[in-house]
Symmetry: C2
């Protein structure tokens, strides 16, 4: 027994690093019970990969182990030409349910729901309900702990938990013990909005209804944990300037990995080319005072860093619903103060650095103080500008109907680089006119 | 009725934007039932703020509405000097439980658990168990759907669901219907590891045990949703180069906001100062060929962007357990290929851009082709270097015992800026020697 567990756990831990052939080999070693448990722990993508790699005689067994919603997820993961073959492995009733689920988008409530839930009529007594559920429960998925009360048209009237039924006297009617204030969601609700409802009301399960308020299935909170995890991953990858990978890092084929990263990288590169153009405008100034060029990376990267901070904070605050579009003016006011404060802090450090180097190494010649002033003023302006851009961009993107997370850290940094150069050389032209320039 | 719901929903939606006084005012308008529901929907921080702002006569009422784990969370949110006062509002039994919970760190399993769960002895019959639970259930929190079977020393023997009890014949013993393969966690387990266990086994609830395998409480999956959300927020803020805010964006006081951002920003600035030193080493080359300065931002930012992509992908993959420390060599090999591919793509775009500008505007003089080659070679090297650094740093940080998420996008970009300059000017010295330099 300890050894069996050891094998299953080892296999689970090694899974992400194994090739398909190694996975099948490891899986086939497991005892039947362990294999069942193991299969249940896998995500839809791994299940799909495994089923396609198994001999066709074994496929039916594993497909039939899955609840309709899990079977639908697996079918969504396989290439289009394999779908029909997997569907035919299911029994007729399940196949109909799975086909119904496949009509929903993966990221809407209907695509997450389990169609096997327990139903009761309101006029049953608690005793009748318990005997009915005793027969019915063996058919249903283990994790269903609520029973929904529906009318003849399958419209949702209320909910009782198994626990409510145990606690209530057997001769009361279901109507008397059910809760009528049921929080339900429409089948076309986006999964992100659905997860917010779950969190706000601390729900374990939610009934999903269609436009006519008929119950179509239930979503369980353990699916919501996955949704929250996936949505965070998508946002994190967008913030880093990568298209959503749609797979674990080590599993994504190298060519697809390059494609997912090249798009944004090339777009940012094209934007960043404007820095060469902007610098070109100031070529004469640079030739006259080469010392100006030395501080270019320091100044533009400080703008980029403050912009990265602001955009990351705002993207996350928007995703969590802490900041809404109408809060834009409050955010700008906050970022004006924060950006100015941060800019002054960096300016002071920069000032001290230049004066110190001058004192120690006489690095910057006669006009060291003017140079120090140029750098300090530019830093204040660039950091303020970075904070403002970084905080406003997510609002603009959301306003235009895009995902605010597309205002990635590299995107904001690129924008601020170009404008940062203009700020720096403009300040330099003003401060240094008549001396160095 | 619809109007009441309207008020509660409006208040909930407006909550993040309201001042404390406005929150209290809105809360006091609610009818008692709505206020109860509303209070249950709030997070620990909002509850703490509200309770402190309410007249002391009302505080007891709201503190006593909370389950021990929720009360402990509220007490953790208030200033140290207020804690004792809130504790005295609780009844003796709850106070003892809350004090026990306060001994746990907020981010370990013990700090998340609910101490009110239902227990059974293994030798009870199912019928006895049901009658016992009928009396007991009214005392317990609504959301508990499992009953744990313990021995005389409170050691965990098994679990039954309310549903198992309904389905089983009344004369069987609890021992016969209970499941003995219970997945439990130690009370000092980190909450991130705990949430991985929940996700892997699709659990709704998990018993928490101490070092002697005695059950101390239960954690419910709806708390895990919050954990997953919080951990993602922490990682996102770190990736953006901000210390964890510990509060919604709009609620964090401005001075604290500046402090949370200034630390990293100043550290990055100090690092970025090395760019001025590095550029200083090449001052003579820049003076000779000012055109070199024009491409500095383009080249170093491309390295920074590819580094941001790589570090973000690896930080997330590590957080999800998709990549472990021992995978470092596979990751490096992947990033070598990816980085080279991405570098060649950007180099081609850069080459075309310079040749095109030369053709159209004669921007770069006689040695335009050598300049183009310098830029293209440097881009390839810098992007490759950025991808490598961005992917290796999270491993190094984890190896040293730090959070890999501290290898933030701005941190990697800063590192790559400095080395990127060295790469660029070294390539320039080799390619342009004898012509421009």
């Amino acid at each position: 027994m300890p050894e069996k567990i050891f094998i299953a756990t080892e296999l689970y831990d090694a899974w992400p690093a194994l090739s398909t052939a190694e996975r099948v080999e490891g899986f086939e070693i497991l005892q039947r019970d362990d294999a069942d448990d193991f299969f249940r722990q896998l995500g839809a993508r791994s299940r799909a990969e495994l089923i396609l790699a198994l001999p066709s005689g074994e496929r039916r067994l594993w497909m039939r182990l899955l609840a309709p919603d899990d079977a639908a997820d697996v079918i969504q993961e396989v290439p289009a030409e394999e779908r029909e073959a997997l569907l035919t492995l299911l029994d007729d009733a399940t196949r109909r349910e799975v086909k119904g689920l496949l009509d929903y988008a993966e990221d809407e409530a209907g695509g997450l729901m389990n169609t096997r839930y327990s139903r009761l009529r309101a006029d049953m007594s608690v005793g009748e309900a318990i005997s009915y559920l005793r027969r019915d429960a063996r058919q249903r998925e283990k994790s269903v702990y609520y029973v929904y009360v529906v009318d003849a048209e399958e419209r949702l009237l209320g909910v009782v938990s198994f626990r409510d039924l145990i606690v209530a006297p057997a001769d009361k009617s279901v109507k008397e013990v059910m809760h009528t204030e049921v929080i339900s969601a429409r089948d076309d609700l986006d999964q992100e909005a659905l997860s917010k409802l779950f969190m706000r009301h601390h729900l374990l399960m939610m009934p999903i209804v269609d436009a006519e308020a008929r119950i179509k299935g239930v979503v369980s909170v353990d699916d919501i944990v996955q949704v929250v995890q996936e949505e965070a991953t998508e946002d994190i990858q967008k913030i880093g300037g990568v298209e959503t990978l749609e797979g674990p890092y080590l599993q994504v084929p190298l060519l697809r990995m390059i494609r997912k990263r090249a798009g944004w990288l090339a777009a940012l590169f094209l934007g960043e080319m404007l820095t060469a153009t902007a610098m070109g405008q100031f070529e004469a100034e640079i030739a006259q005072a080469v010392v100006l060029a030395l501080f270019v990376p320091l100044i533009i990267s400080s703008g980029g860093n403050s912009g990265s901070q602001a955009t990351t904070l705002l993207i996350r605050a928007m995703a969590l619903g802490e900041v809404r579009i109408r809060d834009w003016w409050r955010v700008i006011r906050r970022e004006l103060v924060t950006g100015l404060g941060l800019g002054l802090i960096l300016a002071s450090i920069g000032l001290v650095r230049i004066l110190l180097w001058q004192l120690l190494f006489n690095s910057y010649g006669d006009h060291y103080f003017l140079i120090a002033m140029t750098v300090a003023l530019s830093l204040t302006g660039v950091v303020l500008w970075g904070s403002l851009m970084g905080s406003i961009l997510p609002f603009i993107l959301r306003g235009l109907g895009f995902d605010p997370a597309s205002a990635s850290a590299p995107f904001v940094a690129t924008l601020v680089d170009v404008t940062g150069l203009v700020i720096y050389f403009t300040v330099a032209a003003m401060v240094l006119r008549g001396t160095l320039l």
